[in-house]
Amino acid sequence: MNPFLVLGISVTADDKEIRKAYLEAVKIASPEAHPQRFKALNEAYEKIKDEPSRLNYCLFNKTCAGNSPADAFLRYARHSLKPRPLRFEAMKEFLRSCAKS
C-alpha cells in the first residue's frame, strides 16, 4: 500500500512531518492492540523515512495495491477512508438495498 496513504501525509512531506505522522499513528495503533496496523505503519515509514528512501520509492516502486481494481480500491478504503455517517434518507436506501442483496 502506498506509504503516504498509510501514514496519511502528502507526497511533499519532509522528514520531520513524516516522523511526526508516524509517531502519532503508532501511538494510536500500538503493536499489542493493532499488530497489523502497526506493521503496516512501520513498513510505510521505512519506505519514505528519509530523502533517499523517498527518491528510491518514487523511482522504483513496483508494489501493486491489489489483485484487481476493486480490490485495490477496497484496500485503499480500509487504510485511508474514514466515512462520515450517511444521511438518514441515504441510510434508509442503503439498508433497503442490503435487504435486496
Binding site: 492492540a33 481494481p69 476493486a70 477496497l74 434508509k92 442490503c98 435487504a99
Partner: protein
C-alpha cells in the same frame, strides 16, 4: 437425478431443481415432496430479492397447493411485506411477531422484523398487544436517525431500553456498532457488528463497515459479494458514482481484458492517472504497477498498450511519465540499449517538467541506468564462465552523469569503479578511487577498494592505511585482515629490497599482528607467515633468523608436502631477481612421492590456486607438473566422494590440473554408476557440449536421480543445463545476423576479421597469434595479458585473449540460464552461445 437436484438446491438454482423434482415426485411423492417445497421456497425468496413480486405470487399460489399452510405462513407474510405498506403490513406481520406461540422459526421472525423496520412507517395505534414491539421499532428508527445526524451518544441512550429478547434486538446491536464506529472506536464497532446474525439485514449492512474497520474477509474477495461491497463502500465513503465504474472495470480485469479495464477507468475518471495519494492515485498505481505482476501471457499486450501511450500521448504528461517509468523497469532486459536510454531519459525529462529539477533523483535514476548497462552478460562454461558488460560506454556515461548530478551518490561511484575494473581501465579507476576516498572518508567499501587497488599498483603505504581504516570500521572483516597481512608482507619485501631492514621487520611484525590459528588460511596462517618471514630474512636479512622461521613453519604446517610447495612458490616470488636457486625443489619432489592422498591433494591444489592468483606470480609450470603427477597417483588410492568433488570443483575440465580429474570421476562412477553429480562431471569431461539436445535424456535422468537422492545442489545444476537445452531454437532456426541484410549475395560466409586500419595486424598474423594463445593454459594467458598488455592496443589484446579462451573452452557447457526475461520479443534474441562458433562470437 436426485443427486443433481441436491446440487441445484445447494447452489441456489431453484428453478432447475423444481423442474426435476416435479418429475421425481411423480415417481415417489412422499420422498420428494419436502424437497419440492424447499425448491419453491428458495425460488420465491430469490424472486423477492430480484423484485419479481408478481412471479413470486404465482409460485406461492402453486406452493399453497402442495405445502401445509403453517409451513408457508412466514413466506407469505414476507412476500406481502414487499407489496403491502403501512397498516396492512403491520396488521399482518406484527401479531405473528408478538405471538409467543407462533410457529415461525427465529430466522423467519427476524426476517419479518427486518421488513417491519425497513418499512420506516408510523405504527397504527390502539392495539395494546402491539404497543411494546411498535415502540421498540420506533426507537430503532430514531436511534438510526441520531447516528446519521452525528449524535452517536444519543443513539446509544435511545436503544438502551430495548431488551435482549426483543424481535429487533439485532438492530440494537447494529445501532451500537454504528455509534462506536462513528465515535472513533472502529474496533469496538467491528466487534459488535460481527456479532450480528448472519442472515439478518443489519449483518448485510455491517459488511462494508467491517471492511473499513479492517475485518475484511479475504475469502469474499471475488464474486457478487465483492461487487455489493464495492458499491456499499463507495456509498459509505461518498463516492457513489464510482461504484458502477469500479465494478465494471473489475469485471473486465478479472476476465483478462486488462487494456479495456484501463481504458474504462481512463475515460470515466477525469483525473486518472494521477500521482496523488488518493483513490485516483491508488487506482493509477494499480494500473501502472500491474505490469510488474501480470502473467507473461498477458504482459506483451499490456506493455504494447502502455508503449502506445508513450508514442501518441503528449497531452497527459503524468500518464506519459508513469508509463515510461514502468516500461523501462519492466523491459530493462528486453529493450535495445538505445531504446531503454530514450525511455529513461524521457521519464526523467517529464518528471522534471512536472515536479521541477531534482538532481538527487536524477542522479539515482542515472545510476540505475548505468548499473543496468554494466550488468555482465555471461557466457562460457560451467567452470570458466566469462562475462562482458552489456553496454560499457553507456554505463560509464550514465554513471558519470549520476556522479556529476550528485557527488554524494556512493552507489554510483562504486558502480563506476566496478565498471572500470571490469574494463581494466586502471588509471580511470585509480583516479576515481582517489576522489572517493576524499568524498567518502569513512566508508568501508570505498576504503577496501582503494586499499586493494593501491596494493595492486604497489602503493603499499597508502593502501595499507586505507585498509587499516577499513578494519577500524569493521573489525571482524577477515578479508580485510587477509589483505592487510598480504600487503604488509609485500611492503616488508620492498623494504628489504631497498635495504631498509629495520622498516622491513616492522612491516613483518605488523603482518604478524593479523596472524590466525587457522592453518587453512594461506594469507595469515602461522605457518604461511613463518615461511614468508623466513624466506625474506634468508634472502635479504639475517640468514640464521630465516632458518629459525622456516624450521618453525615446518613444524606448524599441515604436512611436509604443503610446506615445501608453499615455500617453493613463495621462494620464487620473493627471491632476488639474480637468484635462480630452488632450495626446496628436491624436498618437494620427495614429499610428493610419499603416499599421495586425495585429502593432501586438496591442500596442494589450494596452495597452487592461491599463488597462481597472486600478482607477480611466476609461471608455475614445474609445480603444475608435480601436482598433476601427485593427483594421478592419488586418484588410484583411497578417497572420499566429497574429496573428489572438492578437487573437481577447484580445478574444472579445462584447467591444466583438471585433466587429471577424469580418473577420480571414473573411480566414483565404477563404485556408483548412478551418482548424479559424477554423471554430470562425466558429461563435462567428455568434451562434448553438455547442453545439447542429444544429452537431454541423460540430463533428465540425472535430474530424476538427484531428486530421488535428495541431492538438491546437483538437481539445480542439471536443471540449469536442461533449461539451456530447452531454450535453444529448433533445428534450422537461423539467428538474426547483420550480414543477413546484405542480400542474397552478401559475404556472410566469409570469415573476414575487421581490423582497424590503424592497427598493423593482418589476418594471418592474427590467426597465428590466436592459435598460439589457445594452446596456453589460463596461467600463461594471464601472464601474456600482464606482459604484452603494454605493447598491444587493449581492445585488440582483449579480443585475442577472449578468442583464445573461447577456443580452449569451446567444448564447455553454457552456464545455467538466467531467469526467463519478461518480454523476449522486445529485443532481437541473441543467438544462444551453444550454437555459435566461439571465435566469431568473441571477435565480431
Amino acid at each position: 437425478m436426485e443427486s443433481r437436484v441436491r446440487e441445484f438446491l445447494a447452489t441456489g438454482r431453484y428453478r432447475k431443481a423444481r423442474d426435476e423434482l416435479k418429475q421425481l415426485c411423480k415417481m415417489d411423492r412422499a420422498k420428494y415432496l419436502p424437497l419440492l417445497i424447499q425448491a419453491n421456497r428458495g425460488l420465491i425468496r430469490a424472486m423477492i430479492a430480484k423484485g419479481q413480486h408478481s412471479e413470486a405470487q404465482q409460485v406461492l399460489a402453486y406452493l399453497k397447493t402442495i405445502a401445509p399452510p403453517a409451513e408457508i405462513r412466514a413466506l407469505e407474510l414476507e412476500l406481502s411485506a414487499q407489496t403491502v405498506q403501512g397498516e396492512a403490513l403491520f396488521s399482518a406481520v406484527l401479531p405473528l411477531l408478538a405471538d409467543p406461540r407462533s410457529s415461525l422459526s427465529e430466522a423467519e421472525k427476524r426476517r419479518l422484523a427486518d421488513q417491519v423496520v425497513l418499512a420506516f412507517e408510523p405504527f397504527p395505534e390502539g392495539n395494546p398487544a402491539l404497543t411494546a414491539l411498535a415502540a421498540e421499532v420506533q426507537v430503532i428508527h430514531r436511534a438510526l436517525q441520531a447516528v446519521c445526524e452525528g449524535n452517536p451518544d444519543h443513539a446509544l441512550e435511545l436503544v438502551r431500553p430495548v431488551p435482549r429478547s426483543s424481535m429487533v434486538s439485532h438492530w440494537k446491536i447494529f445501532v451500537k456498532g454504528l455509534a462506536a464506529f462513528h465515535s472513533s472506536y472502529p474496533e469496538k464497532g467491528a466487534r459488535l457488528l460481527s456479532e450480528l446474525p448472519s442472515d439478518s439485514v443489519p449483518a448485510m449492512a455491517s459488511r462494508p463497515y467491517l471492511m473499513l474497520a479492517g475485518q475484511w474477509n479475504e475469502s469474499h474477495e471475488h464474486g457478487p459479494w465483492a461487487e455489493s461491497m464495492v458499491h456499499a463502500v463507495c456509498r459509505l465513503t461518498g463516492l457513489s458514482e464510482l461504484g458502477p465504474i469500479l465494478t465494471k472495470a473489475d469485471q473486465l480485469w478479472r476476465n483478462g481484458n486488462y487494456v479495456d479495464s484501463y481504458n474504462l477507468v481512463h475515460k470515466t475518471v477525469p483525473k486518472f492517472p494521477s500521482e496523488d495519494p488518493d483513490w485516483v492515485g491508488i487506482l493509477s498505481e494499480f494500473y501502472l504497477n500491474s505490469a510488474f505482476a501480470l502473467p507473461e501471457s498477458a504482459l506483451d499486450e499490456y506493455l504494447d498498450f502502455l508503449e502506445s501511450k508513450t508514442h501518441n500521448n503528449s497531452k497527459n504528461l503524468t500518464e506519459l511519465m508513469l508509463a515510461q517509468r514502468v516500461l523501462a523497469l519492466v523491459g530493462r532486459n528486453d529493450y535495445e540499449d538505445s531504446s531503454l536510454q530514450d525511455l529513461w531519459n524521457g521519464f526523467m525529462q517529464n518528471h522534471q517538467k512536472l515536479h521541477g529539477r531534482n538532481p538527487k533523483l536524477a542522479s539515482l535514476a542515472y545510476a540505475w541506468l548505468g548499473k543496468v548497462f554494466a550488468e555482465p552478460e555471461e557466457f562460457g562454461g560451467y567452470f570458466s564462465p566469462r562475462t562482458e558488460l552489456r553496454y560499457s560506454e553507456g554505463a560509464i556515461d550514465a554513471l558519470e552523469r549520476s556522479i556529476d548530478l550528485d557527488p554524494g551518490n556512493l552507489q554510483a561511484h562504486l558502480s563506476l569503479c566496478e565498471v572500470y575494473r571490469s574494463l581494466k581501465k586502471t588509471r580511470e579507476r585509480q583516479r576515481l578511487l582517489d576522489r572517493m576516498t576524499r568524498r567518502f572518508r569513512d566508508n568501508k567499501d570505498v576504503l577496501i577498494q582503494a586499499g586493494a587497488e593501491c596494493l595492486e599498483r604497489q602503493a603499499f603505504v597508502k593502501g595499507l592505511d586505507y585498509l587499516d581504516r577499513a578494519l577500524e570500521l569493521d573489525r571482524l572483516n577477515s578479508a580485510v585482515a587477509n589483505m592487510l597481512a598480504f600487503g604488509r608482507l609485500k611492503l616488508a619485501h620492498q623494504y628489504f629490497i631497498d635495504k631498509r631492514p629495520k622498516r622491513a621487520r616492522q612491516a613483518l611484525d605488523q603482518a604478524w599482528e593479523k596472524v590466525t590459528a587457522d592453518p587453512a588460511n594461506l594469507f595469515r596462517g602461522q605457518w604461511c607467515l613463518s615461511i614468508q618471514s623466513g624466506l625474506l630474512e634468508q634472502f635479504y636479512g639475517d640468514k640464521g633468523k630465516g632458518e629459525q622461521w622456516l624450521e618453525r613453519a615446518r613444524t606448524e604446517s599441515p604436512s611436509a608436502a604443503a610446506f615445501f610447495l608453499f615455500a617453493q612458490i613463495a621462494c620464487r616470488v620473493c627471491a632476488p631477481a639474480s637468484s635462480a636457486d630452488m632450495p626446496f625443489d628436491a624436498n618437494l619432489k620427495k614429499a610428493l612421492e610419499n603416499c599421495p592422498s586425495a585429502g593432501e591433494a586438496v591442500v596442494l591444489v589450494r596452495i597452487y590456486g592461491f599463488w597462481e592468483k597472486a600478482p607477480e606470480c611466476p609461471l608455475l609450470v614445474l609445480e603444475e607438473g608435480l601436482i598433476r603427477k601427485y593427483l594421478e597417483t592419488a586418484s588410484q588410492g583411497v578417497f572420499t566422494r566429497q574429496e573428489a568433488i572438492t578437487l573437481i570443483e577447484m580445478t574444472g575440465p579445462t584447467s591444466p590440473l583438471g585433466k587429471d580429474m577424469e580418473s577420480f570421476i571414473n573411480r566414483i562412477l565404477s563404485r556408483d554408476p548412478q551418482d548424479p553429480r559424477f554423471r554430470i562431471y562425466h558429461l563435462l569431461w567428455a568434451g562434448d557440449q553438455i547442453a545439447s539436445p542429444s544429452n537431454l535424456p541423460e540430463l533428465e535422468s540425472i535430474a530424476q536421480e538427484a531428486d530421488r537422492r535428495g541431492d538438491d545442489r546437483t538437481a539445480q545444476i542439471v536443471r540449469g543445463f536442461i533449461g539451456t537445452v530447452r531454450s535453444m531454437p529448433p533445428p534450422g532456426f537461423a539467428p538474426y545476423s547483420p550480414s543477413d541484410e546484405e542480400g542474397p549475395w552478401g559475404e556472410s560466409d566469409e570469415f573476414e576479421p575487421e581490423f582497424d586500419e590503424d592497427e598493423e595486424f593482418n589476418e594471418a598474423e592474427f590467426n597465428e597469434m590466436l592459435n598460439k594463445l589457445s594452446q596456453m593454459s589460463d596461467v600463461e594467458l594471464r601472464k601474456v595479458e600482464k606482459v604484452v598488455g603494454r605493447k598491444i592496443p587493449p581492445h585488440l589484446l582483449n579480443q585475442l585473449i577472449n578468442a583464445a579462451r573461447s577456443r580452449a573452452s569451446a567444448q564447455c557447457p553454457t552456464p545455467p540460464p538466467r531467469a526467463p526475461t519478461v518480454k523476449p520479443s522486445r529485443k532481437p534474441s541473441p543467438p544462444p552461445p551453444a550454437e555459435i562458433d566461439p571465435d566469431q562470437l568473441e571477435l565480431f
